[in-house]
Symmetry: C2
Subunit: 224 residues, 2 copies
DNA sequence: ACACAAGCGGATAGGGCATTCCACTTGGTT
DNA sequence: AACCAAGTGGAATGCCCTATCCGCTTGTGT
């Protein structure tokens, strides 16, 4: 309630009452599960239901949807940042690059919400934005190394990564079961395009049946 | 059944009353515009409003959303099919391949609804499904030619096209203004991966600012 | 000109969602 | 034990959507 200027940092002004703290955790946990499956457009009401708390409790703790998203994905974004930093310092720049790209895209495949968080610019969510920025900077340095190594094409641009992440999210969001397979295939193709030699191995393509069957169940468009 | 063989159009048992026909056209036109901008999840109510007809009129003419989508995109899908056939018969298979891929992806960029129609399997919409099938078959034949030419990699799979279309739709759906640019970049990278030589030229990458600014305005996730 | 089926659009039912409000409970401090 | 601010859940509000119903209007064949 009082937005008294506390400590500048975005910490919780007063410590929550123990039961409230517990509820908060339940909400975040429930949201984590729901977002993973349904993506970020999951309804607040549904999350409250899944958490077993009243809707008011959710809104009191997380006034905007972004507050909740930030709370849920802060640690995943941190892990992403750490992965980027580790890749930057990897022995072989190209191997670090390849593995980082594959890892991030696999994380997207495993978590629909995370896939969307990665391809979203939330000016409001300072934490997430900083983490993204840090990951991006580490990645940019990695690019320099990999080009010097002669394994990454000179015309690769840092922006190719977010583009790939958006593309990957698109594939994953469209195709259902075979999503991971289609995603791997896409990433394989892209890595080929990025590599100087172009000799990267390619994961197998999904069968037409898998692919097209997955395409059926679109989100809300499936009216009768 | 009815002896009225009338025009080539197979459907509509009885001819519509003239004013109804006009309304139908207005609806389809309005839907075309709305779908282009908003994608297939646009609301029926909104389309009726845009068309200046009552909701009931829309539902009477197009009982399900798919009926409307099919009516709107039938000709675009036909043009797509024709493009695929033309590519199949092109002098240079690789050039046909490249141009077809670029064309389809550019159409996606110009029309959000079409981007979604292309990456959707509507078992119910026979017309669209048949057109997709025909395009796909022509494309598959084209692949054979291009591989024989030695310009397309042997491990390219027909399923790589739908995957690319989904990926492209993902990029376009995420980024706003710079969508066309990011899309071109993606397609350029993919064509590189597809080509045996890997020497395809690459369109310029969008600037970080363009890219990230576009990422802001997500659909319904923009709460406060 | 007239009858009437075809067509029309507003009203309405029914549902989901975000968000606010409020009367009631409860943890923690004294 | 008693107090009360912090916390709670559910009801209420308001919006938008899909889908159907129904009394009125209009094109068209005779």
């Amino acid at each position: 309630m009082d937005s008294s200027s506390e400590s500048g940092m975005c910490k919780r002004a007063r410590r929550l009452r123990s039961d409230a703290e517990q509820n908060r955790d339940r909400i975040v946990e429930a949201a984590r599960k729901v977002y993973r499956r349904e993506g970020l457009s999951a309804s607040m009401a549904g999350i409250a239901r899944a958490a077993g708390v009243g809707i008011a409790t959710l809104f009191r703790r997380f006034p905007t949807r972004m507050d909740l998203i930030a709370a849920v994905f802060e640690d995943a974004m941190q892990r992403n940042r750490d992965a980027a930093v580790a890749a930057r310092d990897a022995e072989s720049a190209w191997e670090g690059f390849r593995e980082y790209v594959e890892t991030v895209c696999a994380l997207q495949a495993a978590n629909r919400g995370f896939a969307e968080v990665l391809t979203m610019n939330y000016g409001t969510a300072k934490v997430l934005e900083r983490q993204r920025q840090e990951a991006f900077e580490a990645f940019t340095q990695l690019i320099g190394r990999a080009k010097k190594e002669g394994r990454l094409r000179e015309d690769f641009s840092p922006e190719d990564l977010p583009i790939l992440l958006m593309a990957n999210a698109g594939v994953l969001g469209t195709v259902g079961d075979a999503g991971a397979m289609a995603s791997k295939r896409l990433v394989g193709q892209m890595l080929r395009a990025f590599s100087e030699s172009g000799s990267e191995p390619l994961p197998p393509a999904p069968s037409p049946k898998e692919l097209f069957r997955g395409m059926v169940r679109q989100r809300r468009t499936g009216g009768a």
